[in-house]
């Protein structure tokens, strides 16, 4: 049978049709920062909402309550929704946008996270309240009177500043990473319907319960009065998290008294959610024998005009920053900073690509300085079984050395390392978190009631396979309907590559419960405790860690700066593989996405405006861009916990390619490594010592 995704039989959110449904379009601010003096929508023939309609609604935001359904006094980025209309057809709604007159007073804007983080910088938000829902799962540390909406710190050992004089080699380098677009095939799409004080929403979301909570807060309803149904998604990569279009369609539907649907145009995606641009300064120190002594990092994560889950991104960028090494001392300050760019949020890798890029390049620079092979330096210092990470947590099932050796082997590191580079990755999984699931028996077989969202990653198949294995039945007897918060039990969310492990544990417990009870319904639950103190970074960052390494081999055109990636390999710790085809595709997809990030993906801004908001001017990797050899390992261990694979192979890819260039004496600090950037580094090259 042809897969429903290929034959076109899948009902995505944008395919949901309800009786009497209207179609919505959003009017967006053309200015990166502007006071909204007046809005005149009297000429609109259709349903329109402006600030006057939404003033009474609650503020929202998963971690900081800084968002309103539409801009009220000021529009904070070019693309900030200022009004929305609903009409019988999308074309009529589009036309109606032109009937709205908005008088703006343009205001000065900020685009640089380092400048915006300074004391005295112009404030994007004057006040910010910490949210009270489970997306704010760690203590927030907004810095009052600044644009820093969260500051995460690690204080492990002594202040590295006091130690540099006792080190034999010290590296101090600042790295930059450009913003990126998720560019999933299916754009954001949401449908809302009210029945009295009950709100129903059909939407592609990775976070159905967070969304339910936020909508309940916005419209001042009990959570049970909000129903979120989550059809399968045509890709998400972090873009479909928390509140996106749902509040606007719900506010329109309430005013219209009819259901309302919105589907974004492609260019609106760049105005909706992107990946955090970041600036990261790294200092590393070591002794002459290769012993790593101290790591100091400062991260500035540019979260744009609304925090979204940026505090969480900055925290993970920070806590994964020191990486899988035995640092005697590690201090990190990671700031989540407001600017007047479009909001940045979750993106495959969740901040950890940015800090891995900076640290792994710095580790190679340190190896050069010490005259030690970068693989040897890593293996000498890598975290091993029973070690404690810089957060204080004890590590088990540790495979970094194995991943590094496998990656090095794949590029024949021992035959000479010119043009070759390595990078190691440690990546956290959402901790703490909780998953619940129900397995029901009926005449047709088994039905799974589960909030895990299908976004092309194959979650439904993987969880069904685990249930089938535990039940001892063929997987074809198991159904997995769309998550519906009226029906499915609670789950934290489908993020951070957690579902196969956490929901997988829960489904096995549910099947055991079903069998033990002899009834028609089994319930399973998996809770993982932990969390970090944001001022010291001590505690449990991750229940278990996603571990991996990448290796690359490149050829450089020294006259133009163009690089050809000839070979790319990742070695990823899987623990146990459940769905092999799916696992392999996750690794390959992550690597290809990492390749785009490494070589050319970048959102170009001019005075706060995205200038390449289309898939012609913004390029993603195509098949013709793949390296001659693109390979990977899934490392397994008998009896191990399942380790999620949705993201692990992405973050180390740019760093491995960067280090491959470094082996030629060409030291880039910026992503992407466009030929022009690389040629600048070729011009700056000094002597090359690599064998």
């Amino acid at each position: 049978m042809i897969d429903a995704r290929i034959s076109g039989r899948v009902t995505y959110s944008q395919d949901v049709e309800l009786d009497g449904m209207l179609h919505a379009r959003i009017l967006r601010s053309p200015y990166p920062h502007a006071r909204v003096r007046s809005i005149d929508a009297s000429a609109v023939s259709g349903v329109v909402i402006t600030r006057d309609d939404i003033r009474g609604y609650g503020r929202y935001g998963p971690q900081i309550q800084d968002s309103t359904v539409l801009a009220i006094d000021r529009a904070l980025y070019a693309g900030d929704p200022v009004a929305a209309v609903a009409a019988p057809t999308r074309a009529e709604a589009t036309e109606a946008l032109y009937a709205i007159e908005v008088d703006y007073e343009e205001l000065p804007a900020s685009y640089d996270p380092v400048e915006a983080a300074q004391p005295g910088a112009r404030l994007v938000h004057e006040t910010a309240a910490v949210s009270e829902n489970d997306a704010a799962y760690f203590d927030m540390r907004p810095q009052p009177g600044t644009n820093v909406c969260h500051r995460f710190r690690i204080r492990h050992g002594r202040d590295p500043e006091e130690l540099w004089s006792s080190c034999d080699a010290v590296i101090d380098r600042t790295f930059r990473v450009a913003g990126a677009q998720h560019a999933m095939m299916e754009p954001h799409a949401s449908v809302a319907r009210w029945s009295g004080d009950r709100l129903e929403v059909w939407t592609g979301t990775q976070t159905p319960f967070n969304l339910r909570g936020e909508l309940a807060r916005i419209f001042d309803l009990p959570q049970e009065s909000v129903r979120v149904v989550c059809p399968p998604m045509g890709g998400a990569f972090g873009a479909k998290t928390f509140v996106r279009l749902e509040a606007i369609v719900a506010a329109l539907a309430r005013k219209a008294g009819r259901p309302v649907k919105a589907v974004l145009d492609r260019d609106e995606e760049w105005q909706t959610l992107n990946r955090h641009p970041a600036v990261i300064r790294v200092q590393l120190g070591a002794r002459a024998d290769g012993t790593l002594v101290a790591c100091r990092m400062w991260c500035w994560a540019d979260t744009g005009a609304y925090a979204d889950c940026g505090p969480g991104v900055a925290q993970k960028m920070g806590f994964a920053g020191p990486g899988p090494y035995r640092w005697e001392h590690a201090w990190v300050d990671s700031d989540c900073v407001y600017t007047n760019l479009p909001p940045n949020g979750a993106f495959r890798g969740y901040g950890q690509m940015q800090s891995t890029w900076a640290r792994e390049l710095a580790v190679d620079l340190l190896a050069d300085e010490l005259g030690i092979d970068p693989l040897e330096l890593r293996l000498q210092n890598v975290l091993r079984e029973g070690d404690r990470y810089v957060t204080g947590e004890e590590l088990h099932d540790v495979h970094y050395a194995e991943c590094l050796k496998a990656a090095a082997h794949a590029v024949r590191w021992d035959e000479g390392r010119r043009g070759k580079g390595l990078a190691a990755l440690m990546k956290g999984m959402q901790t703490p978190s909780r998953a619940e699931i129900v397995v029901e028996v009926d005449d047709e077989g088994y039905a799974i009631r589960c909030a895990t969202a299908e976004m092309g990653q194959g979650a439904r198949r993987t969880i069904s396979l685990l249930a089938a294995e535990e039940l001892g039945v063929d997987v074809s007897r198991i159904r997995f309907p769309d998550p519906d918060t009226d029906v499915v039990p609670y789950d934290t969310r489908t993020t951070s590559s957690r579902s196969t492990y956490v929901m997988g544990e829960a489904v096995r417990e549910a099947v055991r419960d079903l069998k033990a009870s002899g009834g028609r319904r089994g319930h399973g639950k998996m809770e993982i405790p932990g969390g970090l103190d944001p001022d010291t970074g001590q505690g449990v960052a991750s229940h278990h860690w996603h571990q991996g390494a990448a290796a690359a081999e490149v050829a450089l055109d020294e006259e133009t700066g163009a690089i050809e990636v000839r070979r790319l390999h990742t070695s990823i710790y899987a623990g146990r593989v459940v769905n092999r085809a799916g696992a392999e595709l996750q690794n390959e997809g992550s690597m290809i996405m990492g390749l785009g990030t490494a070589l050319f993906e970048a959102i170009d801004f001019a005075d706060g405006q995205v200038v390449n908001a289309n898939l012609s001017d913004y390029e993603i990797a195509a098949f013709a861009d793949l390296p001659g050899e693109l390979t990977h390992d899934l490392i397994e261990r008998e009896g191990a916990e399942i380790h999620g694979l949705g993201e692990t192979a992405l973050p180390p890819v740019p760093a491995a390619i960067g280090n491959a260039l470094g082996s030629l004496g060409v030291h880039v600090t910026e992503l992407p490594m466009t030929p022009e950037t690389v040629l600048g580094a070729v011009d700056a090259r000094t002597a090359v010592k690599v064998p």
């Binding site: 032109y98 260019d267 133009t560 289309n614 390029e619 990797a621 022009e676 040629l679």
Partner: protein
Amino acid sequence: MSSWPEPDWLAPESFDEALRLRAERDDATVVAGGTFLAILMNQRMLTPTAFLSLQRVPGLDQIEVDERGLRLGALVTHRAVELSPVVRERWPALAQTFGVVASPRVRNQATVGGVLADADYASDPPAMLAALQARVVVQSVRGEREIPVEELIVGHYETTLEPNELIVGVVVPNGEARATYRKFRTRSHEDRPCVGVAAVRRPGALRIVVGAVAHRPQLFPELCDPDAAPEEIGRAYADAIEPIGDVRGSAAYRKRVIAVEVRRALEELAA
């Protein structure tokens, strides 16, 4: 309040009807494969009130060879040029150039007439066609004329076509030639070029056209000394061109790449 009615869709079934509609409806945007227009319309840079589609006009999709040379009809797709046995055999650099445009999906749709009429600075084929001294055949209700490619494209999206004229096709002359096209990309393989160099060497003559670096293809006959060293000509082209900067590279970077890629193109021809 502005109101946007659905644009008219004019679909003539003969060439004469197409010419007549072209003369009558100067508001109509001519559409062939639509790959370029779709981008402009999605970006809301273009909101036509009418389309004049050539898809039903017979005879414009032919690839023929006659005593003058190769004739490509306006509706011949990029993919058809790329795969045509006669083009591959006798004008291999032309087949190669059409074959490096975007992806097969785009090449199956985009046409020879379209890529010339668009006058998009970042397209590959115009530079190669200009280097091969191709001439564009255009017709109007008043008759036919021919325009050398380098005289057709005069600016950013700007051609010397009269409002009532339609491109019928392009003629690529016969004659012994060695030719090459070098597409230098800075991003995906499916991207447009940052610098495109088309070079054609005929007995005692050399012609180099650099595309994607300025508002129109760059040709400097006075610098094309067939006896000069490739490196010297590369430098001279880099000095002569005032490049633009865009998402694919700054002006200063393009200047450096022009010098390198012109030299490499000439070295390829010498090899």
